[in-house]
Assembly symmetry: C2
Homo-oligomer: 393 residues x 2
C-alpha cells in the first residue's frame, strides 16, 4: 500500500510549531523569563456567563434519563440552525435553517469541506493567508494558484486576468493582515466566481470584530453570492470558543455545479462521516445568540479592541506602516529597517520578550511583515506596546 | 467547476434515514402509538456521575481566566493520551501516549482517516458492515472489495485467496452482527495484512462489551499488529457518549508504508485540519478512565447486557438462530419464515410496534437477517421481547 504521497509535498513544518520551538528554546536559555505572547490568535478571556450557565444546564441534562441526549442530528441541532439563520437575517442575508450546518469549528470545516470538490482542483489562495488553507489543499493533491497581495492594494486583491480556479478562498476580516474586503470588492469577486464557474470559500471567522457599518459581515450580503459561495464561520473569536469548539457553515440551496447541489452533497457527507456535534457544546453555542449572550460577548470583544488601539497608537507614534486592528483582531505591520520577518521575530523575542508571528509564515509576499494578535491581556498588550516604542523609537 | 462526482455513486439513501421515515409515517397513521425502538444503536442511560462532575468542573474552569483553556493540542490533551495508553497497558497492549490521538468520535475518525491513504485504493469490507464504511470510501473514490459472510462461519470471515487490498476494515465486536473475532482469527488477519502490505482499520467501538476472557479487546493484543494496524475507538458505547462525542485512535510509530510513517502523517493532518477536541469534553472523557468512572460505566453496561439476555432468551424460546448479544450490544437474528429483512421490519412495526434494523441495510449478505440493539430501556426491551414471543411463537 502506498499512502497519500501528497504529504511529501508539505513544507517542513507548521508556522506555529516553529514559533513554539523558538520560544521554548528561549525559555530554556532564560529560565523564569516572562513572554508577552501576541503570536497565536488564541483568546485569553474566559467564556461569558450566559454560555457558562447554558453549558452547566446542558451537563445537567446529560445526567438524567428524561433529559439525556444521545446522537445529535448530523447537520446540527435544528433549533441552533434556526437561531443562526435568524442571526444572518439581521445582516440582510436571507437563509433558511437547512442552509446552516453546525460544525466543530472553522479549521475542522475548512479541511473537511474539500470533500465536496473532488480531485485535481485548482484552488486560488490570496496571500498572505492562513497556512492551513495551503496545507489542506496540498494533502488533497490540489493545485494552488497563489495570489500575492501587498501594501499598494491594502492587502485586498481584486480579481483580474488570472488562471481560472475551481475554488477561491477569501478571508475577511483577514487573517493575518486584518484587512477587510469592501462591499464593492466582494461584489467583484462574487461576479468573477459566477462568471468563471468557481466556488468561493468565504472564511468569516472574524466577522464580529467589524466596526465600520459598510463592511459586510457575510458574503451573503452580496447579491449573487448564493449561486457561488460557501461561508465558514466560528465562535472561536466571536465568543472565545477556541478551546470549546463550535462553528457553522452556510451552503445555499441554490449553489449548484455541474447539476449537483452542494447543500445536498454536504448533508450526505455529514450523515456519512460524522455523528453530529456535542449536545453540550451546541447548547453553549446557542447561548451566544441570546440577548444576554450577545451583550456579554461584545463586552469581551471591546477588551480586545482596546488592545488593538493600544498597539495601533504605538505604531502610529513609531511611524510604522500597518493595516488591520480596526475591523479585525490582527495588526499587520511592516518590519522596521528592512528586517526580514523571522529576523524581526528573533529581535523582539530576544530584546523585549514580545512574541508575534512572522509574516513570511503566511506566504512569500508576507516576508518583511509581522502580525500581532490582540487577544492577549490588556496588561501584557500595554507593556508590549511600551517595549516596542522604547526599542524601535 | 465539477464537484466530486463520486457522490453520484452513493446509493439512494442512508439506512437509518429510511428507518426514521418509515417510523414517522407509522406514527402519522397511528397518532399516539408507542414504539419500542431497538433500531439505532443509541444509548438510553444518562452519563455517569464521575463524568458529570468532571464536565461541571471543566465548565467552571472555562469561566475563570486563571483556569481558562483556549486551543487544545491538536492530537489531544497529553494527560488524556497518557491515561488511554495506560488503559491499553492493562490489555497487554504496550503503546506510548504519542501513539494515541484524541478524536470527536469513531464515526468522524473513520471518515477522516482515509486522508492518510490517498487515491484509488482497494478497500476490503467484510459484510454485513456499518454502512458508513462503504459510503465514506465511495465518496473518496476508492474501490470496494466486498467480503460477504454468513452463518456457516458465524459471520466472522477468514482471510483466504482474495484480491489484494490496500486497506482492510475489521469491526470486533461486530456491528451489526455482534460476532467477535477470536485471537486466532485476528492473528490470521494481522499476518495476512503484513504479508500483503495492507493496513488494517480495526474498529473497537464495542470492546467494553466483551465478556469472554480470551477475546481480544484491541488489535494490539495481537503480535505483529503494530506494523499493520490502526485502531479506532470511542466512548459512545463504553460510556454513553453518543451525544457527547469523544473517541481515540491508535496509530503505532512502527506503522510504515512505502517509507512513510502513518503516525507522523496523522500528526501533520490533525495540526492542519483541526484545532483539537473541546477541552470540556476531553475532561469528561478522562473521568471515564478513573476508578470511579470505570465502576460506573460498567454498571451501565450491565444494564444493557441484561437487555441482551432478555432478548436472547426470547429468541431461544422461539428457536430462532442468532449471534451476538454475549460480547456485544447487538443481536443478529435470522428472520423467521424466510421473510426478507425489510419485510420483517414492516411486520414488526405494524404488528407489535417494535423497531429494529433490517440486515440488508448492512450489505447484500445481510438480507434475511435483522439487528436488535440492546441499548433501550429494560422496560421497553422486556415488553418487546414478550411481544416477539407472542407474535412469532
Amino acid at each position: 500500500m502506498i499512502p497519500n504521497t501528497n504529504y511529501k509535498n508539505l513544507k517542513d513544518s507548521y508556522l506555529f510549531y516553529h514559533i513554539a520551538q523558538k520560544t521554548k528554546a528561549y525559555l530554556e536559555q532564560h529560565p523564569g523569563a516572562y513572554l508577552y505572547r501576541m503570536g497565536i490568535g488564541d483568546v485569553s478571556l474566559p467564556l461569558c456567563d450566559a454560555v457558562i450557565q447554558a453549558l452547566h444546564k446542558a451537563v445537567d441534562d446529560q445526567a438524567v434519563k428524561a433529559s439525556f441526549h444521545g446522537y445529535m442530528p448530523e447537520c446540527g441541532d435544528p433549533e441552533l440552525r434556526r437561531t443562526i439563520a435568524g442571526y444572518y437575517k439581521k445582516r440582510n442575508a436571507d437563509l433558511s435553517p437547512e442552509e446552516v450546518f453546525i460544525s466543530s469549528g472553522a479549521s475542522d470545516e475548512l479541511g473537511d469541506i474539500l470533500d465536496l470538490f473532488g480531485r485535481d482542483k485548482k484552488v486560488m489562495i490570496m496571500e498572505p493567508a492562513y497556512p492551513a488553507y495551503v496545507d489542506a489543499n496540498i494533502i488533497a493533491g490540489n493545485t494552488i494558484i497563489h495570489i500575492p497581495s501587498g501594501e499598494a492594494e491594502g492587502f485586498v486583491p481584486q480579481p483580474g486576468e488570472r488562471d481560472r480556479a475551481d475554488v477561491i478562498y477569501i478571508c475577511s476580516p483577514n487573517n493575518p493582515t486584518g484587512a477587510v474586503f469592501s462591499r464593492e470588492r466582494l461584489k467583484q469577486w462574487v461576479d468573477y466566481a459566477n462568471r468563471t464557474d468557481a466556488v468561493l470559500l468565504f472564511d468569516a471567522a472574524y466577522e464580529a470584530f467589524i466596526e465600520d457599518e459598510d463592511i459586510p459581515h457575510s458574503i451573503f450580503e452580496i447579491e449573487g453570492a448564493k449561486t457561488c459561495a460557501i461561508e465558514i464561520c466560528s465562535l472561536s473569536k466571536t465568543a472565545g470558543f477556541t478551546g470549546t469548539r463550535l462553528g457553522y457553515t452556510v451552503i445555499p440551496r441554490e449553489l449548484e455545479r455541474n447539476g449537483m447541489r452542494l447543500n445536498e452533497m454536504w448533508i450526505r457527507n455529514r450523515t456519512t462521516k460524522t455523528n453530529g456535534v456535542s449536545y453540550i457544546i451546541q447548547k453553549g453555542g446557542a447561548a451566544v445568540f441570546t440577548e444576554e449572550g450577545q451583550k456579554q460577548v461584545r463586552e469581551r470583544i471591546q477588551v480586545y479592541k482596546k488592545n488593538a488601539k493600544v498597539l495601533m497608537e504605538a505604531l502610529d507614534r513609531l511611524g510604522i506602516w500597518y493595516c488591520g486592528g480596526k475591523n479585525a483582531p490582527y495588526i499587520w505591520m511592516r518590519c522596521p529597517g528592512g528586517m526580514g520577518s523571522w529576523e524581526f521575530f528573533d529581535y523582539l523575542l530576544q530584546e523585549i520578550q514580545v512574541v508575534g508571528t512572522p509574516g513570511e509564515g503566511f506566504g512569500a509576499c508576507g516576508e518583511g511583515y509581522f502580525r500581532f494578535s490582540t487577544f492577549g491581556s490588556p496588561e501584557d498588550t500595554k507593556e508590549a506596546a511600551e517595549r516596542l516604542v522604547k526599542l524601535l523609537g
